[in-house]
Amino acid sequence: MESASLPLGRRHRGERRRSLLRPLAFMSLPMAILGLFFLAPMLVMLVIALQYGILSGQSGFTLTNFSDVLGDELYREVALTTVQIATAAMVIQLLLAVPLAYVLAFKAGRWEIPLLLFFVLADELNPMVRIYAWRMLLGREGLINSALLDIGLIEQPIDALLFSKFAVIVVLSTSYLTYTVIPIYAAMKAIDTNMFEAARDLGAGWWTTFRRVLLPLIAPGIFVALLLVYIPLFTDFASPALVGGTEGYMLGNAVNDLVLESGDLNGGAAMSMLMLLAAGVFAVIAYRLAKIKQLEQ
């Protein structure tokens, strides 16, 4: 899994020219499609982000869209909330994914493939359906509140379960679990299980074995999971829009509102570009970390 995403260096320098030409030829069609449908709209976005007053007729190029977004106290707060929510959801997903991947890789036996399929299918569930399912669980009259009321643990339903930061974290924590589990599972499958026995034989308990043997060996998988999951978490807007209320308002919603509510296409484009930049920086760091970890082995 990781080896596919992290290309190895070329071995024969002499053949470099010829060996580069062939893959380029193979890739020309996909590259053209990417360029046309992916890069071109992005360029259009960049141009819009640098323009002002398209609608008023008096248009020109400016950097004020960026400085407006960056200078706005409110957006800085939203950015902070976004980072908090995305990070919390990521950490929770990793905490869930590592034991899940462990069970899948080492303990599931003949259930390994069915369970893996289940994870893939769970991801196929429509996000809207999933989010509404969570609303039914977390709501004032939802399953959790009624259950807690029934057993007498609480006297009043807990309102903070829904339309809060908490709700967004809960919903996001489950939305990308498949993409967190699978790279970690793949990294675990590559481990020789004798190593766990060797660690035990040398006096290590489960925690030491986890920290000093398992964790370093699955680190590349964890970084791949970060790469795949943290960026969509950071830019998500459906979950906060449906369960976030005002407290769980994220950058994705801000872009949405700028464009669709305020009609400020330029501002929305500028904010999108800034988010893209942040995601890019994050991706480079995660990629580097994954690659370094892999080279170490």
């Binding site: 020789d192 026995e197 060797a198 040398l202 006096g203």
Partner: protein, 367 residues
């Protein structure tokens, strides 16, 4: 044997229907190089894992240095294991691998460093402490695995087919090397292998296992020269056995008369079995009859002769249709025979080893 280091006391372990270890009792002495030899599935690895603590016996006791450790977890047992594929930690350097156990035992850092360096010298890996396992050859990894286990000064070192992944030449070198390290450190070695040559080369004593049972426990020479069962005779050395009717018993000897004045003489195992299975080691047989009349003489036809460098191997088919393999040194006295020749084979009576296959396996009494 003085104080035994490891005692298995009537230990059994089953996996579902399969009885991997069946009522095995063993005593392994301190400082001994002890091997468990047998084909795959004979129970040798399970026995080793019982000593290591990775398996718990269904019944029986495991004693280590006089203490009952049957239910003690492997991390608290003062034994260390060398795994078949080494199981080195790929993300740690050689030195970190070796230091792993010491740090967990809370040995101070300076002292741990010193012991790691010392151990790397013993296994001849000085100066390679900073390398990663992936940067080492198979033989070097093997040495790291040894060092990682031995640095903890275990009461016994358990080795699970540690040379299986190496090529023949390296394996031979490592056999001598293992023996040297065992002598240097004075550690008790418990060695599991399916390679009889390996076991014979290194071991003080060998337990030959089959079907979860110890078939015979003895020093290499006794195993080779006095195998107690047909399985042991066949597994150690070339299987070379014939089955014959007993004609008469003369004092200590059983005599099996054949046509044309030929006969096979063997030490009488006692009892009144009408037929005996006899094994003769290939190098004990001479081609050409001995003149003094004593011992065994048997006629047959040469079906194959192979030149093996220092030896010649001749396969002779006797009247019963059974075949005997003969090894002769290629010195000046070697017989010049060719396929199709009629020859007489002879051997002294003490070289007729009785291994009655109907006898079944025998339990090893405590030594």
């Amino acid at each position: 044997m003085s104080e035994p280091m490891i005692v298995l006391d009537r230990v059994s372990r089953s996996f579902g229907e399969l009885c991997a270890v069946d009522d095995v009792s063993l005593e392994i002495g301190a400082g001994e190089f002890f091997s468990m030899l047998g084909p795959s599935g004979c129970g040798k690895t399970t026995t080793l894992r019982l000593i290591a603590g990775f398996e718990e016996p269904d019944v029986g006791r495991v004693m280590l240095a006089g203490e009952d450790v049957t239910l003690v977890s492997p991390r608290r047992r003062n034994v260390n294991m060398v795994f078949q594929d080494y199981a080195l930690f790929p993300h740690m350097s050689v030195a970190e691998n070796v230091e792993f156990g010491l740090r967990l035992r809370r040995v101070a850092r300076d002292q741990a460093r010193e012991r790691v360096a010392e151990m790397l010298t013993v296994v001849q890996l000085e100066g390679l402490g900073q390398r990663r396992p992936a940067e080492l050859s198979g033989g070097q990894r093997q040495r790291v695995a040894l060092a990682r286990a031995l640095v903890n000064k275990p009461a016994a070192l358990l080795l699970d087919e540690p040379l299986g992944a190496l090529d023949l030449k390296l394996r031979r070198e490592m056999q001598l090397e293992l023996k040297r390290i065992q002598k240097t450190t004075g550690t008790t070695f418990v060695y599991v292998t399916h390679d009889q040559e390996e076991a014979l080369t290194m071991s003080d004593r060998i337990a030959v296992m089959e079907g979860g049972i110890v078939q015979q426990l003895a020093d290499p020479r006794t195993l080779y020269e006095q195998p107690r069962t047909a399985f042991v005779a066949g597994f150690i050395g070339t299987s070379n056995s014939i089955r014959l009717e007993v004609s008469r018993r003369e004092g200590e000897l059983a005599v099996m008369e054949l046509d044309q004045g030929m006969r096979v003489v063997a030490p009488d195992p006692g009892g009144s079995a009408p037929r005996l299975r006899i094994t003769v080691r290939p190098e004990k047989i001479r081609i050409g009859g001995s003149s003094n009349g004593a011992g065994s003489r048997i006629r047959g036809q040469v079906v194959e002769r192979i030149y093996l460098g220092s030896l010649s191997q001749t396969v002779v088919e006797i009247a019963t249709g059974e075949r005997l393999v003969v090894h002769e040194l290629n010195d000046d006295e070697a017989a010049a025979v060719a396929p199709g020749d009629q020859v007489t084979l002879s051997w002294a009576e003490r070289h007729s080893l009785i291994v009655d296959s109907d006898d079944g396996p025998q339990r090893e009494e405590r030594s």
